[in-house]
Symmetry: D2
Subunit: 284 residues, 4 copies
Amino acid sequence: MKKITLLINCPDKKGIIATVTNFIVNKKGNTVYIEQHIDRELGEFFMRLECEFDEDEEKLALFKDSFNKVVADNYNMHWEMYNSEKKPKMALFVSKYDHCLYDILGRYASGELKVKIPVIISNHVDLKPIAHSFNIPFKHIPVTKENKAQAEIEQLALLKEHKIDFIVLARYMQILSPNFVDQFPNAIINIHHSFLPAFPGAKPYHSAYKRGVKIIGATSHYVTSDLDEGPIIEQEIVRVSHIHNVQDFILKGRDLEKIVLSRAIKHHIERKVLVYSNKTVIFS
Amino acid sequence: MKKITLLINCPDKKGIIATVTNFIVNKKGNTVYIEQHIDRELGEFFMRLECEFDEDEEKLALFKDSFNKVVADNYNMHWEMYNSEKKPKMALFVSKYDHCLYDILGRYASGELKVKIPVIISNHVDLKPIAHSFNIPFKHIPVTKENKAQAEIEQLALLKEHKIDFIVLARYMQILSPNFVDQFPNAIINIHHSFLPAFPGAKPYHSAYKRGVKIIGATSHYVTSDLDEGPIIEQEIVRVSHIHNVQDFILKGRDLEKIVLSRAIKHHIERKVLVYSNKTVIFS
Amino acid sequence: MKKITLLINCPDKKGIIATVTNFIVNKKGNTVYIEQHIDRELGEFFMRLECEFDEDEEKLALFKDSFNKVVADNYNMHWEMYNSEKKPKMALFVSKYDHCLYDILGRYASGELKVKIPVIISNHVDLKPIAHSFNIPFKHIPVTKENKAQAEIEQLALLKEHKIDFIVLARYMQILSPNFVDQFPNAIINIHHSFLPAFPGAKPYHSAYKRGVKIIGATSHYVTSDLDEGPIIEQEIVRVSHIHNVQDFILKGRDLEKIVLSRAIKHHIERKVLVYSNKTVIFS
Amino acid sequence: MKKITLLINCPDKKGIIATVTNFIVNKKGNTVYIEQHIDRELGEFFMRLECEFDEDEEKLALFKDSFNKVVADNYNMHWEMYNSEKKPKMALFVSKYDHCLYDILGRYASGELKVKIPVIISNHVDLKPIAHSFNIPFKHIPVTKENKAQAEIEQLALLKEHKIDFIVLARYMQILSPNFVDQFPNAIINIHHSFLPAFPGAKPYHSAYKRGVKIIGATSHYVTSDLDEGPIIEQEIVRVSHIHNVQDFILKGRDLEKIVLSRAIKHHIERKVLVYSNKTVIFS
């Protein structure tokens, strides 16, 4: 049996669900799970569909062709197809903070994250021992104001070499150039240590402390060329009070960052995220 | 246009989604929203489906007949059909506590709850003025150990007279007999003031205080003949600490009870609840 | 027995606690509850203290004089003294939204809020029936761009007449002038329907929806002359997802607003709030 | 400067605070932080007090003697004194689950937990490599039904040898005997993977799944001879729905267990927990 996942969006119209599910029946497939969303304001239809095919029934390439002709073109669909059993390849970008890296690698080692991690890239050497203790190659590519363009060329070459599907910035302390970002649309996941859109940019815990908020948060989002403005994937919060100082905020925030980032990675790996209009549809 | 909602469950099998959506297409209907769940452990398939028909295309009775023959019988389905535009009729049972009643009637008056409330039934007269201020008939049926059977006969007559679809026990302080409960399967919603299954029965806030818990909760569930053992619809919690006494628990709990009960009522009204194996599937 | 509450802040220094508690012992009082906070960054000391005196032992005025001479002057203290049994006088300002008003008056009627409400002031007549159903005087003072200054004079006269201690803006849809605000420092409580500092100003739910956040919030704060920039008293949040539209945000937000505003009012009534450096210390 | 922390409880009586703070002033100390709680129902007074002394002013032993004579005996106090700068010694008991161990050691390594860990004791060898990667001695003491008494003798000898102050059961899958427990009163911290008192005993996630709860939790408590009945230190919860199976519960629960256990350990290390009447007072 071959399992595939379809992610579809198109202008909302009559009969989409029946058309798609019929197409699958005709291809001798079985729809095992369907989820759907309609954005009434934008008139947009979203669907995530898991289906199974007997192995020889359908070649993936043929399916694609056929689906385009019979279904997608008629509905002006944007769609993607994934082999559900194939683990995507994730690159980790880190700097000096280790808590998110430890957390991700722990979940990876225990099998919680169904992903391959061909490489960890860092602008510092500090976290190399952690990478090695999990048997993952670690590449040190220093980044300075002067060499940034060259460094990104090296990074991109590495990503290409390892056929990386998506990137996770696990508290990577450099801003990626628009050119870099353009090459991984909706495929770079960042963790920002505030409840966006509050406190974008640097030192959000300090700003939150100064403002005297009673709740702090963390936000995971896809990176776009607008800093901290990309589509939000997941957020979580924790209560604070006057007894907590900035250092307490940072410690509490670390727990938030780990949880929010790992949830976002899981959503992405399981192909449960559709981006539209700078927002995300997160299928359950 | 006529909108209907279908709630379906049956043993999981290939092709259910396509069969159902095709049936609807053949009846000149349009499936506008579908949600689905499979309980892999029990091998059970669940689906909620909203569809639209041109008004004269299909008579409801004919649809039912046809659906049974063409679809349901083949899959051994249990299914229900609702006219999405028809407001269900809800009866409220209350005693002396007013907070849930105020909350429900406030949401009803503002149009948040799409429901009709033909009658409020109480074993005490205390809340009569509140019922009247919202222009809802209030029936006082005292209940004692001696007259309980007779009181339930009166209650059931009232419910029948008003063609009540479901009952909400808004802190009603009497236990309904198994006979009464049997006449409203999965149609009596209770609010229990604890995080079930912790602290069933009487005085849960006192028990929670005595045990020294750090979080208290409230639980809304369908009433079955086993006290506080029915399928859970919704739960919510709030943190407490050593500084809170029983009275504080009760005050904090009141806010929980209001929110949990109103959420459960909304799920029920919108036909988003499927009961199976003493648990609920809550479609989103 | 006479119960008083002291709220104190001053530069942090050795011996403050012993000095204050001794003073009370010497005045034949008994300190029954003490809470304390030190802001190490600012070097500021905060204390809330509940004490009891035998009725004739000490006249309030004498206590004040004596405390200033013996204690406060030496430590450069800012301090306030409240008679714990005296209910403060609260004025409610409302416009057209009724949910916060219903919630506050319900808690008031049940005795949960230990406060007097001499008057409800509104720029619209819509909520007059609610005020009357709770037997509270309702004053309609229309506010337009042209008459705003005059309207505030009327409002201030009413507040003075009723000896109002603090004001609650229960979704009052007008901005108070700096002059008005100056007359009630740290004594005007507002509810803002966002998780400040995200989405200040008008239509925060619309902005939150547009940004695609996964969590929405509400914030209660003291009003200062900077719009939505005053010291935050309380915040709360609720999760949302792509399935919720703006109307859903508004409905979910209503529940947040009620809870956050009522918590803030309670903190204020119980003299548990100290404002410093545009932030709040909330004693437990 | 020498910092000490006092934890006090006694029957509530007039003048305790002034008596204690005066005693400290007389000993040339400075009370820098005080927190207090009164359980009105039980008439019990609780206080946590941080104070500083010039190094030579007072010998610890003399302080104790003097405090007993001048203060404690008069008030029938139970009290404990800690050197705030001395890190307590914690032993970890583990079996096969690694998530709590990883989490605790990560926080330990980063300096978040101000504690010494002289030894990790396990009835299995599986987690030995983790202990070693953090440079902590690992002792394998197998436990069977037959050798349990002997195994506990070995464990107790190890604990004595290392002068262990308290024990953390980080998903240790053996039940300690009453005799063992008696030797560490209020000094054995367990993490139970349910929202106690719901689902005590084995396989709580399975029970929670079967019951169809909408929220699952984890509970950290001191171990007493009554299984899962000891004083609760901390609890936390996470929402679940019908889409989650037992395996999902377990995964979500792991995150809860880590957070709840680490919070409990921190409270204990910072001497913020007072146990009374099988409940905890947790100072902030």
